[in-house]
Symmetry: C2
Subunit: 210 residues, 2 copies
């Protein structure tokens, strides 16, 4: 039987992770997000934060620059990044092979292209994302709205760069996805059953992968 | 009670009109598309084709150019276009005031902004749109794929231009919509119930217009 895979991409602060988790729960699918980093940490002995930095937040740009500019100075760093990306790709394929699942981020939409996953993009207006970030911020974290906005943009830019190393379909372009959900002004919990229903009907009707 | 309005924008050939009509049927809402042109034709005595040309296909660019370049030669044309746009705006507001409805195109999402409509965008990959256009083409119409693609692009460009005269939110940018549906590789009829359900849950949960 064809595997059922949903890949969720999301803007930082849009609630994509929450939507992905609830979608997995609704459909009875496995959910992979932090699990991927935890598993890599186990395999490599690296700590989770370094891994995140290396693989999504900080890696792609230095990787590209170092690769072009210095072949000796940063070989270890490059090497690690490449090895980690390769490990992560293998891990994502292994997880997907286990059965129905929702995978958040990590260019899984591209890595699993041959499985014809349902590609979901979650986004929101800046003000809505800011509000979500504010409400999640730890007491006394003390970032100004401007600083939060700058961080949001920085993280989304890294996600796009990371994604676009692996995928020919640009991150965030609606053409790269089957469904794009704007969470501005609505409650994620409330709309999840309809997203799940959309997925079910889409999966039954699609001619992709046949 | 708050009016329930859905505005559908769509790429040419994506099946947005079919999706809009089926959505209206599913929800028991009125459906307005050709009805708007027919009503304008009745009010003005103009024929439908000229109206379509004037209002969506050919109007915006000549309008802008004429407005800047010649104030005498084309005053009648400009005047007619402006009057028609104004009539159409009034008509759309009147139709929306009647009750729950789905309105396709015509920048209704912007015209009815104060009613906080649900804004839906329907799109598809070029090859899928081409296929749809081919299957609808009259026997012997004899357009090559390249000609159809050129026409598709031209019509979408005009729609965008027309829309963006009225609206500050760019046509086709996912940020301008609440939900974006990619019809590539799926059957519109099959997924409509989930879009209807998404609308119902969204409308119950949204804080817009409260």
């Amino acid at each position: 039987m064809k595997k059922r895979i949903i890949c969720v991409s999301r803007e930082f602060g849009s609630g994509g992770r929450e939507l992905g988790k609830r979608l997995a729960d609704n459909l009875g699918f496995a959910y992979y997000d932090r699990e991927i980093v935890l598993s890599l940490a186990e395999q490599t002995g690296m700590d989770e934060n370094s891994l995140e930095q290396q693989l999504e937040i900080a890696a792609p740009v230095p990787f590209a620059i170092h690769f072009a500019q210095s072949f000796t100075d940063n070989l270890t760093v490059n090497d690690t990044t490449v090895q980690l990306l390769s490990l992560q790709t293998r891990l994502i394929k292994e997880l997907a092979a286990k059965g129905d699942c929702v995978i958040v981020g990590r260019a899984a939409d591209s890595i699993l292209e041959e499985e014809f996953p349902f590609r979901l993009f979650v986004y929101a207006e800046s003000e809505a994302k800011l509000e979500r970030c504010r409400s999640r911020a730890t007491e006394g974290e003390g970032l100004s709205d401007r600083e939060i906005l700058r961080q949001m943009k920085r993280i989304d830019r890294r996600r796009a760069e990371f994604h676009d190393i692996i995928s020919p379909r640009p991150w965030g372009d609606k053409e790269s996805y089957d469904l794009c959900v704007n969470t501005t002004g609505t409650e994620i919990k409330a709309v999840v059953p309809a997203v799940a229903e959309y997925y079910r009907l889409w999966a039954a009707a699609t001619d992709r992968g046949r």
